[in-house]
Structure formats: C-alpha cells, structure tokens
Symmetry: D3
Subunit: 238 residues, 6 copies
C-alpha cells in the first residue's frame, strides 16, 4: 500500500492555476498534490550571444526552491553565492525538455525564459516544473500570436513529465516525498503529446533494475502523462 | 489624485493568509494590494556563533524577489552569485525591526529565521515583508508556546511597516509602484503596536523635505500601521 | 556627562585636509575627532551603461575600511571576496546623498567616483565620509571648471551628514564609538546647505522613540551640519 | 556507415593503463579510442560531515577537463571561478554510479575521492570516466585489503558505462565526437557486472524515441559493457 | 640623467611615521618619496589551523591599494570580489620576508598580521611595504615585551627591501613610477640587517641581463638598504 | 649526498614528448624526472582587449595541478572557486618568461595561450612548465609558419628554466621534492638560449645567502639550462 492510499498508477491531484501572477507573459501555479511550483514565462526581445543574427529563438529555464519549501529549511542559494549541482541539473533538464517541443526557427530572434520556483516541495518538483512550464509557455506564445508578434505557432506539441519508481517492490507513479525517500530505484520521464520519449533518467540507489523494470516504469509514465496532457490543455484554455 | 483613486491616507487592500505553505513553523502570504510576499518563520534549535552559550536566542531575516515578480524580469541572484546591496539592506532592516519587539532572552538558545520572498511586486515589498513577518513569527511563537518549548511569550508587542511619500506635492500613504517611481521623497516607517518608532528611513530624490514634511509623513505612517495592526491580530487569530 | 566631556550639542573637532593625496582630481582627509576618512573624487570620461547617450553624468561612491581601522582587526573584504551588507548600505547612502546636490545634466557624459576609505574608525564613519566627499567633489568640479571641461557649476548646494542619538537618556550630537556602542537609539541625518533633509535614517535598538524624540535629534543634526558647512567651505577655499 | 568505419555494435579501442601516475592509491589512464581520461582514487581517513560517527564510508567523484582537451580551447573552470552545470552533473553521476557497487558499511570511516581529468576528449568522457574509475577504485581497495586496513572487500561487483545513440537512423554504440555532434538521440547507460541497470539517461535532441528505440539502445549498451568489464578485470590484474 | 635628478645610487626621501593610526599594536606610515603606505601590525592570540598546538607563532601579511592611489583609478578588489595575482604575489613576498627575520618559536602561539595599504603609489610599493612592516612589527613586539607577554625578543635582525633596475642603460636604485614604466630590467631585493639576501626577484622585460648586471643591481640594493636600516631604527626609537 | 644519488650539478632525466595530445596547435608532455607536466599551446585569432587594433600579438599562460598530482590530494581549484596565490604567481611567471623570447609584433593580432597542467609533481613544476612551454610554442609557431599564417618567425631564441638551491650546505641543481622540502634557500632561474637572465627568483627560508651563493646558484642554472636547450631542440625537430 502507498502511504497516500493511491493506486500504483494513480497521479496525485493535479492543479494548474494560470495567471497566478500578473507581470509575466505566461504564468501558472502548478500543483502535483502538495508540491507547488510557480512557473513564469518571460519573453525577451534578444537571444543569447551564440545565437545572435541567426534568425532563430531560444527557450531556457531557471529553477529555484524557496528556503522553507522543504521540511527543514535549506540555505538560500543567493546567500551561499552559487547554485547547487542539483539546481543546475534540473534547470538544464527543464530547458532541454521544452526546446524539444518548440520550433526555435519559428520563434524569431527572441528568448523565452522559464522560471520555476518551488513554493512547497513534496516530491516531484522537477516533473511538476516541466509540466507547468508548458502551460506558461503556451500562454506566452498565445499572447505573441494574438499581438501579431508571431504569425505561426512555434510550439509543436505538448510536453509533460512525471516520476516513477519502485516503492516497496511495486512500480508506482508520481512519487511523493515519503515514497521518494525510501524508493530504491526511480526515474523521471519526459514525454511528448504523442507519447514519445524526450528524456528519461533512471537511477537505482542501492538496488538495480532490469529491462523489464525499465519498461514497466515507462508504461506508468505514459499513464501519468496522459492525465497531465489533459489538465494542461484545459488550463491553457484549449 | 492618486493613480489608484485612493485617498492620501488610504492603505491598499491588506490581506494576510496564514498557513499559505505547510512546512514552516509560521507562514503567511501577505498582500498590500498587488504586492504579495510569502513569509515563513523557521525555528532552528541553534544560534549564530557569536551567541553560543549565552542563553539567549536570535531572530534574523532573508529577503528575495522571484525573477519575474517585477514588470521586466530581473536576474536571479542565485545565478549571479551574489545578493544585491538593495537585498542586503532590506533583509537587515527586516531583522532589526523584528528583534525590536522580541525579548531574545526569553527565546532560549534558538533562532527564528524569517524568509520573505516576493511573489509579485507593486511597491512596498519591504514594508509588506515586515508586516507579514510579524504574523509568521507570532504563529511560530504560538506553536512553541503550545508545545511547551517556550513558557513565556518572547514577543513584546506588534511591529508593522508602511511607506509614505510626497506624490505630486501631496503626502500619501502606502505608495504603489507608479507612485513610487515618480515620488520625489519617500520613506519607510517601522512602528510598534503602541505607535513608537523603531526605524525611519527617508530619502529625498531630486528634492528635499523639511521638519514639517517629516512629521506629516510620520502621521500618515501611524494611520497606516493602525490598519495593519488590526489585520495582523485577526490573521494571527488573536 | 558624555565620555568625551563634550556638551550634548557639541561636535568633535572637525578637520578637512584637502589634497592629502595627489593623483585624484579631488582629495580630502576628513577627521571627525579620531575618525579619519580619506576621500578621493575621480573624474572618468564615461558613464555607466544605463546612462550612455543620455547627455548626463553620474556620481557614485564606494566605501571601505582598512582592516585595522578598528579596535580589533576586521577581515579584509577583498580577501573574503565580497563586500558586507553594511559596506553596500553605506556606499549607496553616500552616492544618493551627493547626487541630491548635483545637477547631473550639467555634468556632461562623465562620472565622478567617490572613494571613501576609513583610515581610523571611532564612530560616525559614514557621516564623515559624506561630509568629506562634498569637499573632494567640490575640488574636482573646480578643476573641471578651471580647465573649461565644465562651463557651469553642476553642484547646486552643500551637503553634510552627522549622527545623533540618545545616550543615557540625553539626545547628543556626533556620537563617538563609546557612545555609539551603548546608545539605544540613533540616527544619521544628511542635510543640504539650507538645512533641508536629504536622508534620514533612525534606528531604535532595544528601545523606541517618538515624534518628539525624532524632532530633537533633527534639531541637533542641524546644529552639527552648520559647523560642517562652514568647515567645508574653508577647506574648499571658498 | 559510421565515420570511423566501426560496426554499429562495435566499441572503440579500449585501453586501461593502471598506475599511470604514482602518488594516488589507485590510478588509471583510460582510453575509449581517442578519448583519454586520467582517473585517480585517493583514500582519505575521514568522511564528509553528514557521515561522521556513523561507522560507514563514502565514495565521491570530481571531474574536470583540461582546457585544450577539446577541439577549441575551453576556459579553465578554476580561472572562471566556478564549475559548469555540465561538470557538476557528470561528477554527481560518477559518484552515484560507483556508490551503487560499493558496500559503504564495509569501507570503515574513510572516504575515497575519485578524480577524473580529461586529457583528450573525443566523445564519451563521462562513460570512460566511470569505467576507468572502477579500475582505480579496485586498485585502491586492493591496497587497503593488502595492508590490512580493510579485511572484507567493500566492492560488490563491477560497474561500467557506455553511450549509445541514433546516428543517421541507426542505433550505434560508443559514439565518438563526430557521431555525438550529429546524433539526434543519445543516452548513457551505467550497468553492473551482471548487466543490471544502475543509471540510464536518454535525451532526444530535436527528435524523440519510443519504447522500442529505448530497448535497442539498452541492448547495445549491454554489448559494450561486456567488453569493458573484461578489459577492467585484466587491467586490475584479476 | 634620472627624471628626478637623483644620482644612480640615491634613494628617494625616506620617511617612517610611527603611530600614524592608534588602534593597531604597531603602525607606521612609510614614504619612499611620493609612495606612501600605511602599515599596521595586529597581534592576534591565535595561530592558523596548520600551527595549532605546535607552540610557535606566525607572521603573515596582506596588501591592498586604495582605488585612487594610482594615476588612474583602479577597480576596488573588494568590489570585484577577488584579489589580483599581483596583490597575492606581493602579500606572499611581504610575509616571507618578515618571517625570515623572526624566530617564530619565540613568538608563542600568537599571530601577527601585517596590513600594508597603499595610500599613494609612485613605484616601489612592495619594497616600501616590507621596509615599513619591519617598523610596525618592531613596535608591536616591543609592546608585547613591555607588557610581559613576551620575555625574549623574537625579532632576529632588521629586514628591508628596495628596487633596482636598468634605466636608460644605467643601473639605478629605488625606481619611481616614471623609471619603473620604462625600465627594461628591474628587480627587488630583500636584505637583512647584515646585508644577506632573503629574497631576490629580477625580471628582464624585453631585455635580459647577465651575471655582471645582476651583481651591480645587488650592490645598489645594499647601498639603499643601509639607508633604510638607519631610518627604521630611528623610527622604532632604537 | 643527494637522496637521488645525483651529482650536485646533475639534472634529473629530461624528457619532452611532443604531440602527447592531438587537438592543440602545439603540445608536449615534459618530464623532469618524476615531475610531469602536460603543456599545450593554443592559437587564438584574437588578442586581449588592451591590445586590440595595435597590430601585435600576445602570449599568456595558465597553470594547474591535478588534485592528486601530489603526495596527498589537494583541493580542486575549480571546486574551491578560485586559483591560489601560488597558482597565479606561477602562471604570471610562465607568461613573462615566454614573452621575453617572442617578438610580439611579428605574431600578428593573435594570441597563443599556454596551458601547463601538472600530471605528477615531484618538485620543479614551474621550471618544467616553462621549459616544456617553449617546445609547445615552437611547434605551434612552426605550424603557423608552415600554413603561411606567419611569414617570419616570432620566436627570437630559446627559453628554459631550472631550480637551484642549497641542500645540506651544498648548492645543487634541479631539486626534487625531498630536496625542495628541506632546502633552506632556493631559487628559479629563467635563461635564454645564449645564457642571459630573463627572470631570477631566490628565497631564503630560515637562512640567507650572500653574493657568492647567488653566483654559485646562477652558474648551476646555466649548466642545467644547457641540457634543457639541447633536449628542447631535439624534441622540436630542429
């Protein structure tokens, strides 16, 4: 039995609150159960140096966790003077995941910066971030299309992410903090709207898994992402 | 006329949402109109090195602004690798303001860390932070009292803060972003529950003011803080 | 009785030694009693990025303390790799104070950088810095006027600063280190040549003060600044 | 056809040169074709703070690239003052991979630090690092066993890593730089001596892959790791 | 002819003003002509970690340059967040030079930190620093001897430093800024009270020199140091 | 007797392995006995800002030590976030030494960056670095000459470096780690192909030396550099 009483292939309650803050071109407060991440998409009329003059755009992401988003207070990265390896790993993953579903050549020479700030953490902050980021990005792109700044939609399809792992011997979907802390193997899958894999990251801590295990986790991920895709569309008003 | 249509001595709508996040010993989402700050109070059973073994506690504060809390995106301080002078100035002010109403000798050898993270900025983020911090601190202290960790209340009185300034020649209370951008002189007052001054900071940019102007701003601040004190008590369930 | 035997409204001995070093366009060693600060004004024929092409100038300030300017040696900020929050707060205050009396549009596209380095500290280093900075700035501007680089004087009026506080129940002027260490409430006032307020910062540590207290400190500040204004003019050869 | 003329399931020439340097308890120069990484294992009689007094050991890894290991010179991370996100991601992966095959409770309160420094890069530096690290670790553990510092072997099994990817439509093993630069999807697999998965990381850049693709890459990885396991044993003198 | 009109073996005017500041155990403002350095010696009742419990003391040095000590303003190292290679090189040299004439075993477990801050630079700041540091150290040691904290004098002999170089083909002593800028070869010699060499650093920029040239510079250095030794003794009241 | 059994004026075995790595325009693994340094010369078609548009080139150097190049592991400078003073001192010395034998005006507006990375340390890493750097530079320049990018040779003569010191009372050449650790006085000499001095750095730790001692060390250095010059030419195929 899962601590939350959920079925093995059951997601936590999903919530996408578009427009949670007002300044960003796209904004969304995403909740995977008790995990809550504020995602904003900021449109900037410039690109990073390596893309200047190439006629294409860029999508990048930054990630942060409020100091007391967690059970015990973590040190503020701004005060420590550097971002942890974990933070950098996550923000690189978010950026790659989004770029996989954006046709950068249709974006023009502009950059969309995604900020994912974890307000409250209960496992799965990176998967909630990616899933919420698509909604913020969608809203920002719609705004650019509505204003005429863009004439064709640069977003090719949806993207969502979810974690899966082996909890007490059973493959389960969307691990919360308690499950995550004791899972021997877990992974994150980033899938596109049509179920293809964009990213897969699996780690066996103190255990290992085989081909069969890998496939079972992937199948759970597909189930979870279906739910997320539906909720994303609704939140984005599609 | 103020852009918002408010009377000169009228605060923006005040909102204190205690318990906005669940992990911290005290938490509060404070809104001064469109300015929204998430404040948490974290109790740590240790004190900074300079206080070890002295039998007293400490209250300190950190402040941050989400990158897109503002009209245009600001760089993330964690990514830049340092906190700006403005950030440090504000967090020092918040810490001093709270310590002014806490009897540290009654806190035992523990530290309460206040985190103020601006979710959305529209002027007055430091005054909203101080005002919300008192609520988070009050909740955390109540929890320590309820659990028996504390037997006497270390909080001596309330503390609140509000900005005032001269907008188009008229002294006004609680400036929003538009007013703040064009005000020639403004200041922040931190007052205690009985109206005494804890901190006062006044700056005349491109103009100056005299004794009379200083007193008019102080009187507006007292009006504003009365409203805040009432709202704080209600939020803290007193 | 004050430890120094001074009357409550009596400044420490003021000394301004213009030209203490030779390379800077303006230089002054200012002493408020035993507090000594070397201030230089460096003219640079460029402006910060945010002002480029706007046809106006800029005045900014940096502040530092020699490691053994104080009773016990402090760590060198260059060795620690960052400036403290206190340092940043002070240098921002110095910069704002000077800009309040300079018409930046008359400066042309050039920047004057004020460096305030504390040689010996005995309380009031920031107020001595601001007061000395005006002299260094005045000398530098005179040099620009003499050379024809400037044709109209960009300095509108004088600016000076002084601290005041409640020492053992009595409001006193220009606190030295001993007084400063035990004062319950103190503040720094920055005033213009005609007595108007440019900046006021008051802090009540462990105590509070009221409207009446605030006004008494301000009146002391006006007395102190009168003395400083006279000494500044003499030092600048006016 | 692969640029190197290799068959799709063919590794580059593998070379492990144990004892390439003399000071470290374990050392190995590993070559995957033209990719060469110097790996050292340093035994330290202390553990990180979070493990003190817990009676167990730790294995951690650091990774670096000599500035001109690459086609064009990269900036030295020591000169830039920080390690890139990529570097941190890789060194975290190396550490996790090794810990997966070490019984830390059998290591005693000591730490083994693995340093992987890329002398020459031609694709697959992280997989060469992990594979070579096992040899350095094995040599260091043998030294501890021989000296009596350890009485039971803490290394549970072998660990090796290899990359796979889709190059011009064909799944291929152990990508070199040319292949890596143009592959649309690739991944790194870390496998144990008995073929179980310890880590899997797959990224589809500009393309995606499905379940079938994932399995084909995994099967290639198993082939590659068999070769590596054999070469590791030989190098370690088993 | 030298720009200053000095003879080739003539030092600039030497001045040592002991007690220039009051807080440090030893202090001295040293002038080599227009080069002026404030040196303080701070006694700390602790040693660096690597010497703890070894019953001996330590002498170390830090060096800094005020931003406008030079012809054009240099960036403040505290603001840049790091000390330049030049600064580190100089402070290491100062520390080694002083330790060469101190019997650390007679110092007890205490550290003397020398701070050399250049108030005005005109060539030879490192040699002035070393020469002045001996005076500050001497004063601090005398204070420790007078107070009974030390019973035997840990300072073995005097140490002084001076620069020499080939200016327009002629070997000259104690180069000022103009000479230093155009000298093809120059060096710094650190000598003890009896004329032995503690440190010698020679650099030929764009030229080279031979054995004979080396010896001629060394002989000039001996002449210069004689003058410095005499002035040091007088300043230290010996 | 020297621990290695060498004669006082005998170098360790010298080895220069050109082309040790393949990407750099010039590369060389230099060994002075057990001290091994990988040196690369990277040609970049740009110059540092202070030389832009001046029609001349630049040669600069960076130095690093692999963490376990030494007897006990040193912390990685990239992980610590800064280069030590020792590292900066050495890389500045390498750069100056090479520039002394290059006619920068013949290099065109390009920069050659020398990277010296110590693979294994046993004393004399800086002298091995300089000596090996000349070989890497020579190879890179030959490549530029062969390709027609350069038409005249910018390298004026050879440069080499070697250490000398007083070991147990006897002046010896090319100190290894054991000798270096106990030598009371030592120095590094950088000489040109015709025996002239480019740099000389001598330090007497706990002892001093006189004119005669200085000359004896210099004469040893000339002997050592003769050997190095011959080996360099052979390695560079001259």
């Amino acid at each position: 039995m899962r601590p939350s009483g959920r079925a093995p292939d059951q997601m936590r309650e999903l919530r996408f609150e578009p427009g949670f803050t007002k300044h960003a071109e796209g904004a969304c407060l995403v909740s995977f159960g008790e995990t809550r991440v504020l995602v904003t998409a900021s449109v900037e009329e410039k690109v990073p140096p390596f893309l200047r003059g190439k006629g294409q755009g860029w999508v990048t992401a930054e990630y942060g966790m409020l100091p007391r988003a967690t059970h015990t207070r973590g040190n503020r990265e701004a005060a420590k003077g550097k971002q942890s390896g974990r933070t950098q790993e996550i923000q690189r993953l978010i950026g790659r995941s989004l770029r996989a579903v954006v046709d950068l050549s249709k974006l023009g020479e502009r950059q969309i910066v995604i900020d994912c700030d974890v307000i409250q953490a209960d496992g799965g902050t990176r998967t909630a971030s990616i899933s919420g980021a698509w909604v913020a990005l969608r809203i920002a792109a719609d705004k650019l299309l509505a204003s005429g700044a863009l004439t064709v939609d640069p977003i090719v399809t949806q993207v969502a992410a979810v974690s899966c792992g082996i909890y007490e011997g059973t493959p389960v979907l969307d691990l919360d903090y308690i499950e995550d802390s004791s899972a021997h193997s877990d992974g994150n899958f980033v899938l596109t709207g049509d179920g293809a894999i964009v990213e897969a990251q699996l780690t066996a801590e103190g255990a290992t898994f085989d081909e069969e295990g890998l496939l079972r986790l992937l199948r759970l991920a597909k189930i979870g992402c279906s739910d997320i895709f539906a909720a994303q569309l609704k939140a984005a008003g599609k």
